[in-house]
Symmetry: C2
Subunit: 94 residues, 2 copies
């Protein structure tokens, strides 16, 4: 079941640094170096593979943009919030 835009916005407070662009939950993470960004992507990938839910990942030198939505439902679902929380955990462990 997808969330309405209002529901998504209301639940953003559960997350750390995520926004909603009308389609995806989005988080931009900036690191001290390119290789720090790459190592972060490796941790995100492990969390994503465990959840069997895979964000779009855009790497721009020291910045990583993550975007998650549920393709099969064409919207944001509980699975997206769960993955976003896992990613927040991966950041905080870093």
């Amino acid at each position: 079941m997808t969330f309405s835009e209002d529901q998504v916005r209301a639940r953003l407070s559960e997350l750390d640094g995520w926004s909603y662009d009308g389609k995806d939950l989005v988080r931009l993470c900036v690191f001290p170096s390119f290789m720090d960004a790459i190592r972060f992507v490796g941790r995100v990938a492990e969390a994503a593979e465990s959840a069997n839910h895979h964000p779009n990942i855009d790497i721009r030198y020291d910045s990583v943009r993550l975007a998650v939505h549920t393709h099969s439902e064409n919207g944001v679902t509980e699975r997206d919030f769960a993955l976003a929380k896992e990613i927040d955990r991966a950041i905080n462990i870093a």
Copy 2:
């Protein structure tokens, strides 16, 4: 020194599967799985860090889009072709 569009297009034959979108040298690589794509990004990152030249990297599940240009010269230079060749080598080792 940046290459003209004609020069870039003439030199694409030196590379394997790259195109030119008017700004960047671009290669799209598709892998059997998300984790294969992530491991490829790790190899590209090592090549990029060694060259001190970093492509834009967009991961879409099993697909990785690489785009290289030289920011400081606002165009495609010898460094971009050198990095593209290193990336081709990383793919072929895989």
